[in-house]
C-alpha cells in the first residue's frame, strides 16, 4: 500500500465514523426546532414548520437562571478544592517514598470504585450530621478528594524529568513552592484535562444532587432537565426534550469549543521536552 494511501484511508474512515457519532446530536438539534410531534420525527434535515416553540416550552417548564447559577457554583467549588488536593497528593505519590505508601495508594485506588453513587444513603446521613443537607456545599463535599485526579497527576509528575525539581530544590525552594511554581505549570495539560473531566462530570450528575438538595432555589440543571425527560404514563415530547437537552449542555459545549484550541495545543507542545 502506498505511503499516502493509509493516512488517507484512515482519514476517510475517521470522517465517516465521526459523522455517525454526530447523528444523535444532529437529530437533537433538528428535533428541537420542530414544535409539536411532526410526522417524520426521525428526519435529520430541517423541514418546515420550524420554530423555537420547544425552547420556549422548555424554558418555561423550569427555572433555568437559578439552575445555571447553582450548577456553576457546584462545579467551580468542587474543582477549586480538587485542584489543591490532587496536586498535593499526586506529588506525594509521584516523588516521595514513605512507609505505608502502597497501602495509602490502594486506599485512593479504591475510591475510583467506591463512587459516591454507590454509597448514597450513608453519605446522605453524613451530610445531614454535618448540617450540610440542602446546601450547595453538601453536594460538593463527597467529591473534594478525587482519586482520579491523584492518579492523573501522579502519572503527569512522574513523566516530568527530575532535572527541573533538582534545579528548583538547589535554588532552595520548599515543597509547596516546588509544586506550585515548577511542577504544576509543567503538568498543565493534565490539569486542564482533569478540569474538563471534573466539570463535565459534575455538570451532568443527577442522582446525588437530587438527593442532597430539596429546595427549588438550590437545584442544578440535570434535575431540572429530568422534569421533562421522564414520563411514565404519557408519551414522549421529543422536541421539548431535545430543546431542554440543548439548554443544559449548551454552556458546556460552548466552553469546550473555546477551550479546545488551547487544550489541544498544550497537549501538542508538551511533547517538546528538554
Amino acid at each position: 500500500m502506498s505511503r499516502r494511501a493509509l493516512p488517507l484511508l484512515g482519514m476517510i474512515a475517521a470522517a465517516a465514523a465521526a459523522l455517525v457519532w454526530a447523528v444523535p446530536f444532529a437529530w437533537m438539534a433538528v428535533a428541537s426546532l420542530r414544535p409539536g410531534v411532526p410526522a417524520n420525527v426521525a428526519a435529520l434535515w430541517p423541514e418546515p414548520p420550524l420554530g423555537f416553540g420547544n425552547y420556549l416550552d422548555a424554558w418555561q417548564s423550569g427555572d433555568f437562571p437559578t439552575w445555571y447559577l447553582n450548577t456553576v457554583l457546584v462545579c467551580g467549588g468542587i474543582l477549586a478544592v480538587q485542584l489543591v488536593t490532587v496536586t498535593m497528593a499526586g506529588y506525594a505519590f509521584a516523588r516521595l517514598r514513605f512507609p505505608g505508601r502502597d497501602v495509602v495508594f490502594v486506599l485512593f485506588l479504591l475510591q475510583l470504585l467506591l463512587v459516591p453513587t454507590l454509597l448514597i444513603a450513608p453519605n446522605l446521613t453524613t451530610i445531614v450530621a454535618l448540617g450540610l443537607y440542602d446546601q450547595l456545599p453538601g453536594i460538593m463535599a463527597p467529591y473534594f478528594a478525587s482519586a482520579f485526579g491523584v492518579f492523573l497527576m501522579r502519572q503527569a509528575f512522574r513523566a516530568i524529568p527530575r532535572d527541573f525539581e533538582e534545579a528548583a530544590m538547589l535554588d532552595g525552594a520548599g515543597v509547596f513552592a516546588l509544586i506550585r511554581h515548577v511542577l504544576v505549570p509543567l503538568a498543565r495539560p493534565s490539569l486542564v484535562a482533569f478540569a474538563i473531566v471534573s466539570v463535565t462530570f459534575h455538570w451532568n450528575e443527577f442522582l446525588w444532587p437530587l438527593m442532597a438538595v430539596s429546595s427549588p432555589s438550590r437545584q442544578v440543571l440535570t434535575v431540572g432537565l429530568a422534569s421533562f425527560a421522564s414520563g411514565s404514563e404519557a408519551g414522549g415530547e421529543w422536541g421539548v426534550l431535545a430543546a431542554g437537552t440543548v439548554l443544559v449542555a449548551g454552556p458546556l459545549l460552548l466552553a469546550f469549543l473555546v477551550f479546545q484550541r488551547r487544550f489541544v495545543s498544550s497537549f501538542v507542545f508538551t511533547g517538546l521536552k528538554g
Binding site: L107, L207, V248
Partner: protein, 295 residues
C-alpha cells in the same frame, strides 16, 4: 530537639501533610460509609424480627438468580464496551492527531457525547432505538430490517445499552490517547521512517509501546466505567426486558431503593467492590510490566 531530628521529622511528615486534605475527605465520604455498608451486610434483618449477625445476606445473595444474571451481564457488558470504545478511541486519535480544521471538527463531533448528561443521552437513544419510527429502524428499514425492537428483546437490549456507553465514552478515551500520542517523540518516528519502517510497523514498535502509560490509565478507567455507568439502565430499561440488562450496580440500586433490602444491597456492594478491586489490581500489574517511563 537537634536540628537534624527536626529536619527528619519534617521530611517524614511531609507526605502525610500533602496527603492530609485528600485523606480527610476520603475517610469521611468513602471509608466511613464503607464501614457502615460492611457492617450492614452482616446484619441479618428479616421483616419484623430482630437483627442478628451472620452471613445470611450473603447466602441469600448467592441464591438469588437476579444476582447471577447481573454478574454475567456485567461481564458481557464490560467486554462489549471496553474493547470497542478503546479501539475506536485509539483509531480516532491516530487518524486525527494532526491539528487541522478538519481534524478539530471531527474530534469535536466524537467528544460531544461527553458533554451531555447520561440521563439525556439515554433519552436521546430511546428515540434512536424506537421500533419503527426511531432513527435506526427508520434508516435501516429500506435495508430490510423492519421494526427491530432493539431495547425490547432480551437478546438485543444489552447490546443496545452497550452502544450508548460506547457512544458516550469513546471521545473521552480519545482525549487521553491524543495526549499520549502527542508525547510520542517525533524524532523516534522520523528515525523509524528513515530506517524504512512502514506505517503499521511504526505503530507497533514505536507508538504503541510509548502509549503504555496512557493505556495503563485508560484501561482501568474503562473497567470501572463498565461497572459504574448504569444511568441508562436506570432510566431506559430498568434491568429488563426479563433481567437481560441487569447489571451489578443496578442490582444494588434496585435492592436498596425498590426492594428496601439493605441486607442484599450491602452484601452485593461488598462482593462487587471486592471483585472490582481484584480485577483492577490484576490489570494494573499486567500493565506495569510493560510500561515505559522517562524518569
Amino acid at each position: 530537639m537537634p536540628r537534624w531530628r527536626a529536619a527528619t521529622f519534617r521530611i517524614r511528615a511531609r507526605p502525610w501533610l500533602l496527603l492530609a486534605p485528600s485523606l480527610v475527605f476520603l475517610l469521611a465520604f468513602t471509608y466511613w460509609p464503607l464501614v457502615q455498608v460492611l457492617e450492614g451486610s452482616f446484619r441479618d434483618q428479616a421483616f419484623g424480627s430482630a437483627a442478628s449477625w451472620g452471613i445470611g445476606n450473603y447466602s441469600r445473595l448467592f441464591a438469588d438468580p437476579h444476582f447471577g444474571s447481573a454478574a454475567w451481564n456485567n461481564v458481557l457488558y464490560a467486554a462489549g464496551t471496553i474493547a470497542p470504545s478503546v479501539v475506536l478511541a485509539l483509531g480516532f486519535a491516530l487518524a486525527l492527531r494532526e491539528t487541522t480544521l478538519f481534524t478539530m471538527a471531527a474530534r469535536t463531533l466524537v467528544v460531544l457525547p461527553l458533554l451531555i448528561p447520561l440521563v439525556a443521552a439515554a433519552a436521546l437513544f430511546t428515540f434512536v432505538f424506537l421500533p419503527g419510527e426511531g432513527l435506526l429502524d427508520w434508516y435501516l428499514g429500506p435495508l430490510g430490517l423492519r421494526a427491530v425492537n432493539w431495547l425490547g428483546s432480551p437478546s438485543l437490549a444489552l447490546g443496545a445499552v452497550s452502544a450508548i456507553t460506547v457512544w458516550k465514552n469513546t471521545g473521552y478515551y480519545m482525549l487521553f490517547f491524543l495526549a499520549g500520542l502527542a508525547g510520542v517523540p517525533q524524532d523516534l518516528l522520523d528515525a523509524a521512517r528513515i530506517d524504512g519502517a512502514r506505517a503499521v510497523a511504526r505503530f507497533r514498535h514505536v507508538t504503541l509501546p510509548m502509549l503504555g502509560p496512557t493505556l495503563g490509565f485508560v484501561l482501568p478507567i474503562a473497567l470501572v466505567n463498565a461497572l459504574v455507568q448504569v444511568d441508562q439502565v436506570v432510566t431506559v430499561t430498568q434491568g429488563g426486558p426479563s433481567d437481560s440488562t441487569n447489571l451489578l450496580l443496578y442490582y444494588i440500586y434496585q435492592q436498596a431503593e425498590q426492594n428496601h433490602d439493605a441486607g442484599l444491597a450491602t452484601a452485593a456492594t461488598v462482593v462487587s467492590v471486592a471483585a472490582l478491586l481484584m480485577l483492577t489490581l490484576a490489570s494494573l500489574r499486567t500493565m506495569e510490566r510493560g510500561i515505559h517511563y522517562e524518569s
